[in-house]
């Protein structure tokens, strides 16, 4: 039953905030359904995070895990696809599906407010250069991802006296900025390891300061098995801590079969330990073995998929690792939590971005109930107390482009009247259950509410079931075996995302 205040099928006009991956796949899907879409993009080009990254940025996963399900990457695209290639791919995608004419570039959204009461539509206030305006929409879809464009810049005592340069990772445009200098990189996520590699190529010294190590996920386990086979199939999905709505088989695996699941992850940890030689006593004679077990750590603040060279250079001392905290700046460098000091010329803060939803009116923002770990949504998209405002792209998974594409299809089915929402109180209960489930075992992070990581298989199954397609996507004689041990990839969902599955099923 639909909520009482919102007739989703009456939606004709849609305002989409952001022309990154989530905004583009949403616009493409809704335009194909005949809806009048307008995209608001702050920059002068589309692509979001892909338009303008730091030096040497790129995709964290193999190419087959990062493509629109029914719009494959061109032949010959490399694994861990460089950012500029993805940018070109998105340009072509938007052009092909007629999205570009719908984008208002260099237009910043300053406020999103309800037109009248809840469910009566939304007004987007915008600014473009010196011009300002307001437009009304039946529905607004926020596609700005988990964080804003504002860098997270941790402050430390003595910062004003530091004689060197402090830059956020987003300011690192070229490795030439680091040439011949003594560089410290703060952080241990993907961007931090990328920055450390860039620095190692040209800098006089490269230090990487790591507060808490995480289990790195190699492209291939033991150099043989692609990590997607070890982590992203239904078999291993049953071995991680069970989903909020686990199947009976998964509950059995985590009950009677618990020793088997526990043993599996210890084997994976052992393989990674030896593959990266995590006990090597890097740099300051502290090992990089994480404190948390891998099946928990993977759901925390940072999922580590480093480029292959990172650990090799760290072992050789080209990148010197420090497992400690930054206590303060000194005039010539840093005072670290382990009592040592470093003389540096440049501090690179690979510390992510801040969340900023300041464009939502205070009343609307209050109804989202945001807390330290963010705000929780039904199916990671809807808050029943705020009808007509949808988030697409607020779900962190290993194959985000697939997740956003499925979310866009889910929304299209809802607007087309082919998907019925539960009652508002049932959705609110579902949100509370998701919150309790995540808080019971996910490590804290400011975006915990949006993180799903390798539980994406379960989430994708739910979205696909909701729209009336089958979650069993593998084909051929060996389909039952593939369901168990083959990784699910975007191409498996091509007909769901395009909407063609409805036409193909003989009912």
């Amino acid at each position: 039953m639909d909520g009482p205040m919102m007739d989703w099928t009456a939606v004709k006009t849609v305002g989409i905030v952001g022309a990154g991956v989530a905004g583009l796949v949403t616009a493409r899907t809704l335009i194909a359904q005949g809806l009048d879409c307008t995209l608001f993009e702050r920059a002068d080009v589309l692509g979001g995070v892909w338009r303008d990254g730091y030096s040497n940025f790129g995709v964290q996963v193999q190419r087959e895990l990062y493509e629109v399900p029914d719009w494959p990457l061109p032949e010959g695209t490399p694994d861990f696809t460089p950012g500029p290639i993805i940018q070109k791919y998105l340009d072509d995608f938007a052009d092909h599906f007629g999205v570009i004419p719908k984008i208002r570039f260099e237009t910043e959204v300053t406020e999103i407010a309800e037109c009248g009461g809840p469910g009566a539509g939304w007004t987007i206030a915008w600014r473009r250069g010196g011009e300002q305006g307001r437009d009304d929409f039946d529905l607004v879809v926020v596609c700005i991802g988990l964080f804003s464009h504002l860098p997270n810049m941790p402050q430390f005592p003595g910062q004003d006296e530091f004689g060197g340069e402090i830059m956020h990772i987003s300011g690192l445009r070229s490795r030439d900025q680091l040439r011949g200098r003594r560089v410290a990189v703060l952080g241990y996520g993907k961007s931090a390891t990328d920055a450390a590699l860039e620095s190692a190529a040209v800098a006089a010294e490269t230090h990487n300061i790591i507060r808490e190590p995480h289990w790195p996920l190699p492209p291939r386990l033991a150099g043989i098995v692609p990590f997607k086979w070890g982590l992203l199939n239904r078999l291993t999905s049953a071995l991680i801590p069970p989903y909020q709505r686990a199947t009976p088989i998964e509950r059995m695996v985590q009950g009677l079969g618990r020793p088997l699941a526990w043993f599996y992850w210890r084997l994976v940890e052992t393989l990674i330990y030896f593959q990266f030689r995590l006990g090597s006593r890097f740099g300051t004679r502290v090992s990089l073995v994480p404190d948390k077990p891998i099946e928990i750590d993977a759901f925390g603040e940072s999922t580590m998929l480093p480029r292959p060279d990172y650990f090799r250079l760290a072992r050789r001392g080209v990148i010197e690792l420090h497992r400690t905290t930054v206590e303060a700046y000194t005039p010539t460098g840093l005072a670290l939590g382990d009592g040592t000091t470093l003389d540096i010329d440049v501090m690179v803060l690979a510390t992510g971005w801040t969340a900023d939803f300041g464009f939502l009116s205070a009343d609307v923002w209050r109804r989202f109930g945001a807390e330290d770990d963010g705000f929780y949504l039904y199916r990671h998209m809807l808050q029943p107390a705020v009808p007509g405002l949808v988030f697409i792209g607020r779900a962190a998974t290993i194959s985000s482009i697939l997740t956003y594409s499925l979310q866009a299809r889910w929304l299209a089915e809802l607007l087309g009247g082919r998907l019925a929402l539960p009652a508002d109180d049932a959705m609110a209960r579902n949100i509370e259950e998701m919150k309790a489930w995540k808080r019971a075992w996910f490590p804290f992070s400011p975006a915990r509410s949006a993180r799903l990581i390798s539980h994406m298989q379960h989430y994708h199954d739910e979205l696909v079931r909701d729209v009336g397609a089958s979650p069993w996507r593998k084909r051929g004689v060996f389909a039952p075996l593939k369901e168990l041990i083959f990784a699910y990839e975007p191409s498996d969902y091509a007909t769901v995302v395009s909407g063609a599955w409805r036409r193909d099923i003989p009912r």
Binding site: I249, W262, F263, W472, K474, R475, I505, P506, R507
Partner: protein, 78 residues
């Protein structure tokens, strides 16, 4: 050794039949991708499920026993 193989096979049969029944019902309800659900397809998936349990039942039993031993040692050491 023979006892372990027989034990594993029995485990495979018991859990395989339960799992196969569950898979059969799921496939009937949902159908594989872009095809209509049918008893034949559901039976095919169920047979695969039972076959895999029979094939790997012994390995699973052995790994479960090893895992349980390590797990108990790990828990005792904490």
């Amino acid at each position: 050794m023979t006892a372990v193989v027989w034990g594993g096979t029995v485990v495979g049969v018991v859990f395989g039949l339960l799992h196969a029944f569950y898979v059969y019902r799921l496939v009937i309800a949902e159908g594989p991708a872009d095809t209509a659900p049918s008893h034949a397809r559901a039976g095919y998936y169920a047979l695969w499920t039972l076959g895999l349990w029979l094939l790997f039942g012994t390995y699973l039993l052995v790994l479960w026993l090893i895992g349980a031993a390590f797990w108990l040692v790990f828990k005792a050491g904490r």
